[in-house]
Amino acid sequence: MWTRLLNRLFWSVVTLLTTAVLVFLLINVVPGDVAHVIAGPKASPEVLQQIRERYHLDEPVWKRLGYYLAQLAHGDLGHSFVTEEPVAQAILRRLPVTAALAATAVVMWMLIAMPLGVLTAKHRGSWFDRGVLVAATVSLSLPSFWLARMLQYWFSYKLGWFPVAGVRGFTSLLLPATTLAILFIGYYARLIHSNMVEVLDSPYVRAARAKGAAETTVLFKHALPNAVIPVITILGLDVAVLLGGVLFTENVFALPGLGKLAVESVFNLDVPMIMGAVLVSATAVVTVNLVVDLLYRWVDPRIKDAY
């Protein structure tokens, strides 16, 4: 098992390194000059040259990549070109906002999707099942920026139930989290539904029913834990993607999260900050993958045999 774990860790590092190199090269293909972003469009040639020298912008890409990787090897993500703020500090300040938003959204959609999935599986083919299916398809098809703007318009601007935007305590997270939850509820309700349908047909569920177990016990104690196992993998990946930043939702609600940081950095051609945001996102995906693998072993002991 330890060999397998070390192997996974090794490939995780290779994945992150490859991501770093590829993204660095891609950013540098984009035409533009960050010196103009730093000094403004009206800066003199002398000042622009000073800035280029300071950040090695006038050196070849491979040399700059070398500087960056050497810095990374020392655990230093560097400083923003534009604000001169340490990248790690900027990311650490933004991460809690994104993490709180992601966590709230996950709790919201799982709390709703799980009973929906179980009940539609139990009553499959009924009007309720069909209604949930239609609603799920609609929620899956909604564009996030439109949904976010609609919720903001009606519940904040028109009704005044929530702040329009910004960070003002937990209430500020409710509408953005609801936006994300609506986008994911349908998908997870159907995912749990199909897994439940499969599980409900399995012999141990029939055995439980034959023993005379209450239907609630059959559904939520015997069937649901098994139906949820495949969902964990997908949930893990979705959480990782959310931790990388929720661009449109953060933007509409002016939440200073990682997604907003990444977008601003791209507009500013702020290479160290873009790299930092990408690496955090990639690390989240790699780590969550690893954690999900380990969780599998805990949720379903039979998977231990695979290691």
């Binding site: 103009h36 972003v37 002398e46 900027a90 903001q152 910004g166 509409v252």
Partner: protein
């Protein structure tokens, strides 16, 4: 004409309506109240409010609240002493002498000394800081040697006693007086900067009416009163700056009463303008700026003056103003009306498609010509202007394919030699002198291979001589004559076509009072006061 009267008339002419003028008249009579917190919102974070770094239209007005220097502007574009008691310029125009106003203190309590000004100017010239303001101070004697690392101090900066500050220039430079009013010249306390180093931007200390209380990057900035400020500015107790809300979100917040000021998008501004109930929430602020078409005189077909003149006659400027929602005025010439002078004798519009076609035929393009019109796609006004100009040009037989580019890509290409033949760009004044438009944008001696502001790469030796004469002449009237002559030459040679002078549409909560707009500073937050 009186500036306030002019603005009021302008608002009426542009359809801002009587409510606007009534509000303006009330503001003129009302007595400012002290207190309250003014809340503003900006879509993206500010790079820094360090006076050596801040150099954009959003940062400079905020920087000025914290940092003050020797000179300032009155309600218009006239210089007045700020933290200097008096000042004089030697007859040869090379030496500026300032006596500091006694009692001026930094936010941490220490009185300002002339040595702080020497330190402030040397800091800005230091190549390690790469201040965008450096270029304005290179005319100081010894500055070039200091920048090159050949001297440890700038010999042209002197502090013979704590209250006297002397600046010596290499050669007479009329515009240096304006440079001293820029926020780059805002004095900083030397011991604090030396102690904080690069972290000074987080521990800003100046002599302005406000000081930085809280700064959470990407989230919020908070300014509070500077307890040691003794000047007249500053009515509100504090200013809250929220970062991150886009224009639509910020406008909703304004309407919900969550913030007091938004720099509106053209669409939102027009929505408020059309709504009689909320028209007086809209304040169009005149800017000393000019959006223009440039034609690269080194590239075909614009190396032919007849083609350039054809473009000049093909564009309908009055229509462009309408297409900006009325938030602009026609740019008759290169010098905008907000400056000390503008040539009002120039025609409002030279739109004449038959003449444009005749000029093209004369230039050897009887069937018209094809070209590309580049512009910055993320600037909504440029996109609107590009589309309108494209339509106008088509009438004259010029088929201009639109080429939208990202901001930095456009800037790099337009300021590099032989990269962009035809484009739309804008210039906002650094200081309110006509040379800041004419000399900066059309002086052939300033042409460089890259990073060149003369995007037309226009080089007329006669015009260059006029610029040099105007730069070193200390007689305002003679300078005006020289610069007007240069402007006439440029307009005749048509390396560019001035299109419009933009207005900033600002949306304000009705509780906001005071003369917010200013031709140089754009917004003067320190003049704002709030109704309870």
């Amino acid at each position: 004409m009186n500036c306030a009267l002019f603005r009021t008339l302008l608002c009426i002419l542009l359809g801002a309506g009587p409510a606007q003028s009534i509000q303006a008249a009330e503001q003129g009579k009302a007595v400012p109240k002290r207190g309250g917190t003014f809340r503003v919102s900006f879509p993206s974070d500010l790079r820094s409010l360090d006076p050596a770094i801040a150099y954009d239209n959003v940062s400079v007005p905020l920087c000025k609240m914290q940092f003050r220097g020797l000179l300032n502007f009155d309600d218009g574009v006239n210089l007045v002493p700020d933290q200097a008691k008096d000042w004089s310029i030697s007859p040869d125009g090379r030496t500026y002498t300032f006596h500091l106003r006694p009692g001026v203190r930094f936010g941490h309590g220490r009185p300002v000394e002339a040595a702080d000004y020497v330190f402030t100017f040397e800091r800005m010239l230091d190549a390690k800081l790469a201040s965008p303001g450096q270029t304005f101070f290179l005319g100081i004697r010894g500055a070039a040697e200091f920048v090159a690392g050949k001297a440890t101090h700038v010999i042209g900066l002197k502090a013979p006693d704590p209250e006297t500050f002397i600046v010596e220039l290499v050669e007479p430079q009329f515009t240096f007086r304006y440079v001293l009013a820029m926020t780059f010249a805002g004095v900083v306390p030397r011991e604090v900067v030396q102690r904080e180093g690069a972290n000074f931007q987080y521990h800003l200390v100046g002599t302005g009416p406000y000081q930085l209380a809280q700064w959470k990057r990407g989230v919020r900035w908070q300014l509070v009163r500077n307890p040691h400020y003794t000047g007249a500015d500053g009515n509100v107790d504090g200013i809250d700056i929220m970062i991150g809300a886009d224009s639509t979100t910020a406008t909703m917040m304004l309407e919900r009463g969550e913030i007091d000021l938004v720099l509106a998008s053209p669409a939102d501004a027009m929505r408020f303008q059309r709504d009689p109930a909320r028209r007086d929430w809209l304040l169009p602020v005149d800017t000393a700026s000019m959006d223009y078409l440039f034609m690269n005189t080194e590239m075909k077909p614009f190396d032919d003056i007849r083609v350039r003149q054809a473009v000049r006659h093909a564009v309908n400027k009055e229509r462009l103003v309408k297409l900006t929602g009325g938030f602009s005025t026609v740019a008759r010439g290169i010098v905008p009306p907000a400056l000390s002078w503008t040539n009002n004798l120039l025609p409002l519009n030279e739109y004449d498609p038959p003449k444009a076609r005749a000029l093209l035929q004369e230039a050897g393009f009887p069937d018209g010509l094809k070209t590309e019109l580049s512009y910055i796609v993320t600037t909504p006004v440029f996109a609107r202007l590009a589309e309108a100009v494209q339509q106008d040009l088509r009438e004259a037989g010029i088929d201009a394919e639109l080429k939208p580019l990202a901001g930095t890509t456009f800037i790099v290409k337009a300021s590099s030699r032989r990269q962009i033949p035809f484009g739309i760009w804008g210039w906002f004044q650094d200081y309110p002198d006509p040379s800041n438009f004419l000399d900066v944008l059309f002086n052939g001696e300033r042409i460089t291979e890259t990073d060149c502001h003369n995007a037309a790469f226009y080089n007329n030796p006669a015009v260059n001589r006029l610029f040099h004469a105007a730069a070193t002449n200390m007689d305002a009237q003679v300078r005006t004559k020289l610069l007007k002559e240069a402007e006439a030459h440029i307009l005749q040679d048509a390396p560019g076509v001035p299109l419009v002078c933009e207005q900033y549409p600002v949306l304000l909560n009705p509780r906001v009072r005071g003369n917010l707009g200013h031709p140089v500073w754009l917004l003067r937050y320190e003049s704002v006061w709030l109704d309870p």
